[in-house]
């Protein structure tokens, strides 16, 4: 997950490098004894890898705009807490100050995507960021309809 502007910028650079690399690779492979179809097949892994990084970048841009995915049964609640901090433009250190904990505590919690955190701690983090998560209870059938 991209968490900072500098990581975002590095990812953008990497996307450009990857694109250049794929193009160069396509040319190198075409000069070898491979058909066009075989060249594309050999490039599939690099293209998929590239597309995944692109999706990470798009996700970062979306959370910076304040566009969040619904949280289903608290799956990815931890990731949403990180996303909300990024949206606010708060550093881990600033969040730590609001929570009155050490920055390494926030760093560790985020690395673990808040795995193992108590409900009270999650609530505390949400309150420190004035984040509101509304839970709507539905039957599974209705949700999937």
């Amino acid at each position: 997950m991209i968490k900072t502007e500098s990581a975002y910028k590095k990812a953008l650079e990497k996307l450009q490098e990857d694109q250049d690399f794929i193009q160069k690779q396509r040319k190198v492979l075409a000069d070898m004894d491979l058909t066009k179809e075989q060249v594309e097949k050999a490039l599939q892994p690099a293209i998929t890898f590239h597309e995944q990084l692109k999706e990470e970048v798009i996700y970062y841009e979306r959370i910076k705009r304040g566009e969040f995915e619904p949280i289903i049964n608290f799956h990815n609640l931890g990731k949403s807490l990180i996303a909300y901090r990024i949206y606010l433009g708060l550093s881990q250190q600033e969040l730590a100050e609001r929570l009155d904990v050490s920055p390494s505590q926030v760093s560790r919690d985020e690395r673990n995507e808040y795995y193992g955190a108590t409900l009270e701690r999650l609530q505390h983090v949400m309150e420190a960021m004035q984040m509101i998560a509304k839970t709507e209870i539905q039957s599974e059938k209705l949700l999937l309809a």
């Binding site: 990581a7 492979l29 599939q44 990470e56 990815n76 690395r111 673990n112």
Partner: protein
């Protein structure tokens, strides 16, 4: 093997058998009071074993794993990795065919159009991820010979020896028989 202050393995390739991996810090945890999902990590290694066995069966030997599984993260979403293979075998589709003949779910493909979303996840994932929560990429050597700032070949080997978000260098694990 120990995690550094960034929660990463110091840059190096650590050779481990699957059983050594199961009893390593990566599965058993760093022996502190912090949460660590041993059961989930064991489950991931069991799934990895199924895919590694298929790769071994078709003669692939150099297999590396990385991603958050080799980082100090209590509950990594998956295992990422790559393996070295022959370009012609990959390009002809022969490798995929041989591997799919061994896999009951026919998950071996790296075609981006076969990726699907999974709820709450940032990016679409390959069929092997949906079935096994493991994603292994083929690497066939780089005819272009482009090297990165650490002298690694570009693309997979370089990408897998850095964190995915902040590009910090880190150690990875080579799976040996």
């Amino acid at each position: 093997m120990e995690f550094n202050k960034d929660g990463l393995l110091p840059p190096e390739d650590y050779s481990l058998t699957l059983n050594e991996l199961r009893s390593s810090i990566l599965v058993r945890g760093p022996h502190n009071d912090l949460p660590w999902d041993v059961k989930w990590r064991l489950y991931l290694v069991d799934n990895l074993e199924a895919l590694v066995q298929q790769l071994w069966d078709v003669g692939i030997e150099n297999i590396y794993i990385d991603g958050s599984f080799v980082e100090e993260k209590a509950h990594p979403n998956d295992i990422d990795g790559y393996f070295e293979c022959d370009l012609k075998e990959l390009a002809s589709g022969e490798l995929e065919r041989k591997l799919n003949a061994l896999d009951p779910y026919k998950i071996w493909t790296w075609d981006s159009s076969s990726r699907k979303s999974y709820r709450g996840f940032t990016k679409k994932q390959l069929p092997m991820w949906h079935k096994y929560r493991v994603e292994l990429y083929p690497h066939f050597g780089q005819p272009s010979g482009i090297l990165d700032e650490y002298g690694n070949q570009q693309q997979f080997p370089a990408a897998f020896r850095k964190t995915r978000d902040s590009f910090l260098p880190k150690g990875i694990v080579k799976i040996i028989d």
